[in-house]
Symmetry: C2
Subunit: 202 residues, 2 copies
């Protein structure tokens, strides 16, 4: 029996997906929203977390790290993500969190079942159709420092506020913003935020 915790923020969707997965005799299926998922990992002790990369509470990358919450004496669950090729930033986040499985939400649902079984054995599972997304994830143009500037700008912080938070001068923040605008091919700061959110960098 493979214990699966399905993480998705829409109750309607995750209930129906869980019901559908329960038709497989070898799967024991539980489900939770992102908020509260780490608690459910500790109580359910799943073999596999199958997590949707969209998270209602944040633009961008959900708290994937929390799914690996360690319980003494119990191996952490293996991670499989439900992803889209057009949000490379989210794919990059999943790679960094050590996900073994990558199921394309544009594909057939049977792929999710295959993916769960392989990942439960500790094997990698990657939908080919996500290939272009991984390529774009590898080409992510911004440095970590530039990203932290842009995250604050996207939250509505002024240049002075960003400078204060990151212990930089106003001029340095302006230089970062100019570099970000150039590297993302944007017309201006607002356009750079729009492009970066669309790609899932933020």
């Amino acid at each position: 029996m493979i214990r699966v915790l399905l993480v998705h923020d829409e109750c309607l969707v995750r209930s129906v997906l869980a019901d559908w997965l329960r038709r497989e005799a070898d799967l024991g299926v539980f489900h939770a929203p992102w908020r509260g998922a780490s608690g459910r990992v500790r109580s359910v002790r799943p073999d596999v977390c199958a997590a949707d990369l969209e998270c209602a509470d944040t633009y961008g990358i959900p708290p994937l790290g929390e799914l690996g919450a360690r319980v003494p004496g119990v191996p952490p669950p293996r991670l499989l993500v439900l992803a889209s090729a057009n949000r490379p930033g989210l794919l990059k986040g999943a790679v960094e969190a050590g996900a073994l499985g990558y199921v394309d939400k544009e594909g057939a649902p049977e792929r999710l079942v295959e993916g769960i079984r392989l990942v439960a054995e500790g094997k990698r599972f990657v939908d080919d159709s996500l290939g272009f997304g991984f390529l774009r994830a590898a080409e992510m143009p911004l440095t970590r420092r530039e990203l932290s500037v842009l995250v604050l700008a996207a939250e509505g912080a002024s240049v002075a506020e960003i400078a204060g938070s990151l212990h930089l001068s106003n001029g340095t923040v302006r230089n970062y913003m100019a570099a970000i605008t150039r590297k993302t091919g944007a017309r201006n700061r607002i356009d750079a935020i729009r492009i970066s959110q669309g790609e899932g960098w933020l």
Copy 2:
């Protein structure tokens, strides 16, 4: 038999939802992504369109109007939407498109089946849990003109470009942006865009 066209941009989710709905003997279920949905309305001629308000191609309101595409001699389908209370702008768009049914994605999936049956009879169906969302939709603070300015700003257009598109002076555009920032309780232009996208106004 009620003919239902399920519109959702994730193939994996809409296939499983359609499968789940097909267990009801009185429902004939078809499905499509937003792109191409209007063509499917013409070929399937559904009694009810059950459409997710999230659309992969746009921030904000999906092209609900296209689902009402008229075929001579055939009544247009009735519209039911899958919605969240925390995106009042999307609820407002659905009301304006004449939707009869409003199913909360935070609720149990059985509500979707109930909703489809009532809407097919031409009756209204509204999940109580969406109430606060409708209240906020009614309190939408921006005028139509302010919204059109903000939509262009969110796309990365400069003040001069917005002025050119809307046949306004630069000063008038700046006045609109100041009013928008004040009315949304934002700290600045970027913050006003962030708040408005979060609410689903854009």
